[in-house]
Amino acid sequence: MQNQDQINQLKNIVQDLLDEAKRQGANAAEAGLSQENGLSVTARMGDVETIEHHCDQGLGITVYWGQRKGSASTTDLSPASIKDTVRAACSIARYTNEDEYAGLPDKEQLATEFPDLDVNHPWHISVDEAIAMAVACEDAALSYGSEISNSEGATINTHQGIRVMGNSLGFLQGYSSTRHSLSCSVLGQRGDSMQRDYWYSVARNANDLEAAADIGKKAAERTLKRLDARRLTTHQCPVLYAPETASGLLGSFIGAISGGNLYRKSSFLLDALGQQIFPGFVRIHEQPYLKGALGSAAYDGDGVATQIRDIVSEGILRGYVLGIYSARKLGMQSTGNAGGVHNLAIESGSLDFQGMLKQMGTGLLVTELMGQGVKMVTGDYSRGASGFWIENGEIQYPVEEITIAGNLKDMFKHIVAVGNDIDYRGNIRTGSILIEQMSIAGE
């Protein structure tokens, strides 16, 4: 209940902002406010290294003068600051140009149902308990093997926040959410070869975190597997993206069908709606109402209801990723994606990770990618990679200092299989993804 009181208090501030905007002459406005508290504790080499107490807040407002728009934000929530912030936004709106596409959503597009998405689970962990857990996590890694030589530590993060948003059409909503994580990063050494790897777990509810010792062990195991990495010769071969790297591929796909890149014509998937982008077995969908998930939300950054929907089915692009502004620019309807997608998932096939390795037979398993190297306007793709060389479905040796390259349009068309080894840790949920062939550059 205390939580509800706090939300109401913040709702009042947002309402004050909107009222002030009206008073200063804006004909429409939208405003948001967030407040967050957190604790983060890092242990390194068996002892506490840092204790950080987080406490952030901020508010932002966008005002419309006719079709002109101005925005302002501040970390100061005092009444005087609210007036100044609105004034700053209004002053900017006097200089921006009329933009026929600017403005709030239509009233009927706004979300009207606000189910409890089970995203608020405060973790009442004391500093001492957090230290003990971080130490235990790191210890599991350090004691994993004699070749674990050093550590970047284990870190516990716990954050609890409230977000409120409202607009001058009468939309005013707020909710609390939590996010907790535990991560560990250690180094291994064998002769001259020094490697580092990490593992982490993240969840809305601390009970859903992987056990501290398991995270430590996994970090150590991953690190040791990388020792004595070799390079590969320059050639073409199949590439299997492990789940933790496959999410980036889907992220690039979402970037290419996002409103901003589409209306700016800076995407390699312009006018691709209704076209075959992936093989027929691929289905990519959004699940905004999953209970307790990291990407769950009932409404987007415009206040528009989010949608359970297929973005791709039978490999065909069924919808873009649009907010109000980009939808209007494109002459389309918002898809409830101002601010991004919600629990995006690619449907898995029947193979587990081992099965995917077997399916690939001989090729490269990619477990880490480096650099940006993705050109949205052309789909050209070239990134640094490390992972493992696979023969006959078996891991042969670790590889590093190579690049993998291709064009995303071709890579998407040549997805061979999607594994059921799903990584649930992010807003994009995917198993491993096998691409028929890419260019490897190495020795």
Binding site: T74, A88, S91, S382, E401
Partner: protein, 479 residues
């Protein structure tokens, strides 16, 4: 003194915080047996303006202020911050952070002011250097002049961003340091289209100064011209080669090679902990004798420059590599103390809400003897990488990448045709040992760099002359 007054007026006076209050908070912090402590006050205002589709579409203004309190004992750090600069909040923060150690005795602190130190930029508010009307006209002029350059231009996006930041930092000995930091940045991004083929390129720059920089000498219009030139080159580009080859890097921004390949690996924290591929290698050869690399925070007006770092230490011109030999690391106070060396003015933080870390300022390789033309001429077959986008490094394995955004094939000593951008990958500790020619054309980048570390972003600069590297892996598709 003048800076201190500006900063006090911007941060402390509105909050009603007096010198006596700061002494009280620091006294409370020091009541625990700690090695170091600081209180960091910050107040900043920033604005951004964006022109797109021929209209000034968006403008925003933001105010950020707050205070961070830190206590350090041995290798342990306690940290708390708040965006409310109020005495009770500060006292609570101090109590929270000193929980890192057991309670000790009460302590007395008297504030004192740092004696004069050199300033590398003017303490003026860049947001006021042009009127809002003038800012709008500048954006419009860049848009219309750029669009005139070529009929294949489809879209032009121009942005203008300015920040005015005041900081005040008090260390455990009561020493009070202040800085007033202007930062401006402008960018022009274009999309060109020809026969259904699209390309995009952008060019920008900035400095610790004011908006007049973009107006004077038509600097902003040059960004537009350069963006269009690059985009049109890329329209003609064919598949990039794949494999190990000789690479000639252009002068200026390609210096992100230095930032990624060796810079991060020479930051004090990684070396104190022994997690860097360069750990324990001071005095060893890590580059060819042609290479001398510095991190210089004292270059006037540059994006990566600072008069003092975020711990109040005046910045320096720090020699990292001299004639190929590793000389030293970049240090903040904590890591310098633990390694028994002096801080080098590299203690930086994104804001009051972040802990200081050893970070780069402007990282540059000093010029050599060769003309850039001689360097190209010496290559039988290779890649000339003229421009780059970003990069990344794994400091432990030493592997780094950086992505070319404009590149050409070199065949028989001549630049022949443009190829698509590609990621280049190498090994930090040995890439500079393969430098076989260094140009005489040292250039500092135009002021676009932002470096990320531990989730914190800070503005940085890089610079280098034209360089020839005998063997770097180019990640193209043409095999």
């Amino acid at each position: 003194m003048e800076l201190l007054n500006i900063a006090k007026q911007a941060i402390l006076m509105p909050a009603g915080i007096r010198d006596g209050d700061i002494e009280k908070i620091m006294g409370s912090l020091l009541s625990a047996p700690i090695d170091a402590a600081d209180i960091y006050f910050q107040a900043s205002r920033s604005e951004s303006w964006v022109l797109e589709g021929g209209i000034v579409k968006e403008g925003s203004h933001s105010i950020e202020q707050g205070v961070g309190v830190r206590a350090v004992v041995g290798e342990k750090t306690g940290f708390a911050y708040s965006d409310r600069i109020e005495l009770p909040v500060l006292m609570e923060a101090a109590n929270n952070v000193k929980a890192i150690v057991r309670q000790g005795q009460e302590a007395q602190v008297a504030l004192k002011t740092r004696a004069n130190w050199p300033k590398y930029y003017v303490a003026a508010d860049p947001l006021k250097s042009l009127t809002d009307d003038e800012k709008i006209s500048l954006l419009r002029k860049v848009d219309s002049e750029t669009r005139k350059l070529d009929s294949r231009i489809e879209e032009v996006i121009v942005s203008l961003v300015g920040t005015y930041e005041n900081i005040l930092v008090v260390s455990q000995d009561g020493l009070l340091s202040a800085d007033v930091r202007p930062l401006v940045r402008m960018n022009v991004s274009v999309i060109v289209v020809e026969k259904g083929k699209r390309e995009q390129a952008s060019m920008g720059g900035g400095r610790r100064g004011d908006y007049r920089y973009f107006v004077d000498n038509d600097v902003a219009l040059d960004y537009g011209r350069e963006a269009v030139r690059q985009a049109l080159v890329n329209l003609e580009a064919s598949e990039a080669p794949a494999g190990n080859m000789t690479v000639v890097l252009g002068a200026g921004w390609p210096g992100i090679l230095l930032h990624e390949a060796i810079g991060h690996g020479l930051e004090g924290d990684f070396n104190r902990k022994g997690t860097s591929a360069f750990s324990g290698r001071v005095g060893e050869r890590v580059a060819s004798s042609l290479c001398t690399v510095v991190d210089d925070g004292t270059l006037p007006g540059l994006r990566g420059s600072l008069s003092i770092d975020d711990e109040g230490t005046p910045t320096e011109n720090t020699i990292l590599i001299e004639n190929g030999i590793l000389k030293g690391y970049m240090q903040d106070k904590l890591n310098a103390r633990l390694m028994g060396v002096n801080p080098t003015g590299n203690g930086r933080r994104e804001s009051y809400a972040h802990l200081p870390l050893p970070r780069m300022t402007n990282t540059c390789m000093l010029p050599g003897q060769h003309k850039p033309e001689e360097i190209i001429k010496s290559v039988k077959k290779g890649l000339y990488a003229k421009n780059f986008s970003g990069g990344q490094v794994d400091i432990t394995s030493g592997k780094f990448v950086f992505s070319a955004s404009e590149a050409y094939l070199i065949e028989d000593g001549k630049i022949t045709r443009p190829v698509k951008g590609a990621t280049l990958i190498g090994n930090g500790p040995d890439v500079l040992t393969k430098v076989s020619m260094v140009g005489d054309d040292l250039e500092i980048d135009s002021g676009v760099g932002t470096c990320g570390k531990d989730g914190q972003s800070v503005p940085v600069g890089v610079g280098q002359p034209t360089l020839k590297i005998d063997g770097l892996t180019v990640g193209g598709t043409s095999i």
